[in-house]
Symmetry: D2
Subunit: 306 residues, 4 copies
């Protein structure tokens, strides 16, 4: 059976920077404590929202150390070990283990073109090298490969994977992943990585969610998860509709796209709400400003967050 520690709402932590792009530990403390007080069930650091691929190894370690210290065992901490290939991911994983995280999250290799055999072997190599629960991160928009459902189930049955964070945007394969995981005795915790269709994922049988927007509005996601647990689907849907409207902070801007629009909007909202000091982005991404900030402010106001 899937590890019960890794269910429910597990936001991917957005990382605050100072104006000169240093880690802003004070804001990080404020944001993490706010999410835990709202009732989230875990935290995922060093995923896309934590700007993992922008961070040097030193910065990655700083983020882990501070998060583990701030969280102090109140909820489990999952850490991404995102890198191009297996040996590099194993190095990140060993460092994360030494720093005290509770689980690791790995994508398939990327940059070099590879096939399913190599992807499967990569997960097995990581599992063999490091004694921590391992989650597969399915994010084809970044790695340009969709993880195969039968492979994931096989790795779950073999005890290689403790779960899957699905950011594939493919709700059909997600449903089959949940169904086949159930048929296999539920060895994995299946988490959706999306913000605006969490209700459908819960109805499908997902074990939880990893919503970036959970940094901005953790309360709604916590209420939604509790309603899903209680079978109150009207509330699940109602909360979702509200969260979908808040998520428009990532699309009301203009002239930006991808990471700059998504994480940029989360940082801007957190700054407007007084949780982050700045909305500073890592190089080479420009921080949002001017009319883009105002557009985000209007969405927050319209939804009662300011």
């Amino acid at each position: 059976m899937a590890d019960k520690r890794f269910t429910g709402v597990i936001p991917p932590v957005v990382v605050p920077l100072t104006k000169d792009r240093q880690l802003d530990v004070v804001s990080l403390d404020r944001s993490i404590n706010r999410m835990i007080e709202a009732g989230v069930d875990g935290l995922f650091i060093l995923g896309s929202s934590s700007e993992v691929v922008f961070s040097t190894d030193k910065r990655r370690s700083d983020i882990i150390e501070n998060t583990v210290r701030i969280v102090d065992g109140r909820v489990p901490v999952l850490a991404g070990i995102i890198d191009t290939e297996t040996e590099r991911m194993i190095e990140h994983g060993k460092r994360a283990q030494d720093l005290g995280v509770d689980a690791l999250v790995a994508t398939c290799p990327f940059y070099a073109l590879q096939g399913i055999d190599e992807i499967e072997w990569s997960f097995r190599c990581i599992h063999d090298a490091i004694d921590l629960p391992l989650f597969a991160y399915d994010i084809p928009v970044c790695v340009h490969n969709k993880l195969n459902t039968d492979m994931l189930i096989r790795l779950g049955k073999d005890g290689v994977l403790a779960g899957v964070k699905d950011s594939s945007g493919d709700d059909i394969s997600f449903r089959y992943l949940v169904l086949k995981n159930e048929d296999a005795g539920h060895p994995m915790s299946i988490l959706t990585g999306h913000e605006v269709v969490v209700d459908g994922a819960y109805l499908s049988g997902a074990d939880g969610s990893v919503p970036g927007l959970g940094n901005v509005e953790p309360y709604g996601y916590v209420r939604q998860w509790k309603a899903a647990q209680a079978g109150d689907w009207e509330t699940v849907k109602k909360e979702q509709d509200r969260l979908a409207r808040i998520m428009e902070i990532t699309s009301v801007t203009s002239g930006v796209a991808g990471f700059g629009a998504g994480v940029g909007a989360f940082k801007t909202a957190l700054q407007l709400m007084g949780i982050f000091e700045t909305n500073q982005m890592p190089r080479p991404v420009h921080s949002l400003k001017g009319e883009n900030v105002e557009a985000i402010r209007r969405v927050l106001e319209a939804n009662g967050l300011l």
Copy 2:
């Protein structure tokens, strides 16, 4: 407000062929009557499931004439006018109108590379030319363009579009389409074109579904729609899980893919169930046979359909 005729379960009609690839009117009659008796709310002909792009203009007209005759006004008939560009689609639309269909369904232009302005103008041209409700068919896997949500809403508000059949596989944009359609006064009927995540679409607020699998098992989709109308989400989900298992007929085969695997499986199931005489496919697609047929038979048996 959206036209109430175009809500609920509206299966895309799979077209039976004789061994020598003529239209098998007897089987078509049997299948259509079975779906109507099961309680479907409409029928969509000349979409992908009706092998529209494989059909000559003559064949297209034969399919429309026979369907309109068999249906005889019991449910509305929507007809695809799929073709590469606007003028060609308008020709198909006029023929379909003359033959008595109730609504038209058009994709954006394909083959030639075009932008959003041209796509929008294309829908407007079709609407101006033909006085029938017009649905936009969003199917990027075939036309390699995702229809823009704001454009669809604009066309809905302007009375150009009566609805959208969404086969985009993008549940996030689907949710925003539903939300924004609601905000605009619900001018359009928003239908999901998928089979295995209809429950999530209904929870999102979809007005109905267009499931190819509805040819094989219309009863489940009808029960699911009624449960959704009643707010009985546990039943909606339970029916969905069963339908998802039946839908595995499209993935248990090997050596085939795409249209041949999908519509090929539907035809094979319908033949095994005694509704179609053959599982003949149009050139240049090979019909399923041997072990692939047996694999489909096993899925049907496991789910009580044989």
Copy 3:
């Protein structure tokens, strides 16, 4: 051995329209005669440049009839039979044959998802149905499938294909196609469909070219082909560099893309040069105007074409 009629410079004919989008036969006559007088070796109608997918069946026939009449046997006429699937392509092919074309050009099926077996069978069906030389048109940007080299060689050896028009943009596969065609005894005429890398294709061993820009500046392409035949590679390259600069008419515009930018620029250039009456585009494509026309004019002037 490849049919010698289908070698050299074979421009895809750009089709002039009147302001109200009727076929402008007078301009067509002027343009075709100009190309033949410049020394082109053939003409390809009803490809992308001839807006084939925008044209009703009636328009397609009008284009064929007028072209065959104007050409009057001076050079071979190849006609595209572009459509979604096999049976529809065969219908176009039979009409084209009745109207007197010398060869047919077919893409693989598109819209419905298909595999290599089906693509190969489609070409064989067309060849079996119509007794005319058949060219395969490799244009993945439009049909979203790259034709497999070994399949093309097999079809060439079997006498199914008389040649290939390669608009794939994949110069590596093009080289192997030429090499393997040579190894097989040169059964096919291999033509490049590009404008600005014809020199490299000739050096690779191509049998000719099908440059849309050949409508605007046929003289350069004819000189280039003659130089290639004579082994004068410095001239081949020099002509190419000049033609590449003229081809910038398709990229100096703004706010347009794809078909509208490419064929739109050719039509605008032909109008500015007095060969076409208008630069009218088919619905739903907007004709170029204002600053975009001026930008094209400047390129033509800079290269001595005005």
Copy 4:
């Protein structure tokens, strides 16, 4: 004007491993010396062929140190600093500079979705941070972004880029890059990263090539470059046809693809030719064996390399 040091044949160095995946310095010595004795003009390490993304930071440093020592100033050494984002690339670049390389090679950022402004800023950040000639590596198949030609020219004019290694497979954009670089006073050295269409690139005006196959057969590429310098295009083409046939070692295998098929074939050929001790691949890639090795052997024999 472009730095003359960075022209001609600059093979990307394939890295030999021992059976237990340690760096095989003896084989590396043998292979590098063979290439230099064949007359290559430079060496590119830590690109895809050097399995850069598979290598830990320690392994990257080992490869640089050994290469710089072996080369000993006889030809310039360019080093890849491939990583997901700017700050990480800068760290690699500083280490490479300390270890004595002559130039750096960077892709645009990957994994996180970004736009052209961010890509341009990334190159500028690297240039500002490290005082070494910087090459842009255009390899969309790995980073899923094609570098914009006008941006590259701008960076060349501004002294940010010393050149471009183009592995885009887009010969049309390559031609315009060469033409516009020429118009700008030739600030950059434009190198093609392909193996089988180097003749066309040279005819286009390329300043050199970076062929992975140059590890296996450096002599042919050196002869080809000299012929191109002399304007002897028939020899350029003849050498290319032979090299294209040798390059088939990367496609005669079955059951492998991408990196495993390409670099796997180079390693296997080098082992068969007695230059490498093993054809060991890095985890999670399987080394070629059995019939795949025999297929490569046959290609080498047929072309006089065994």
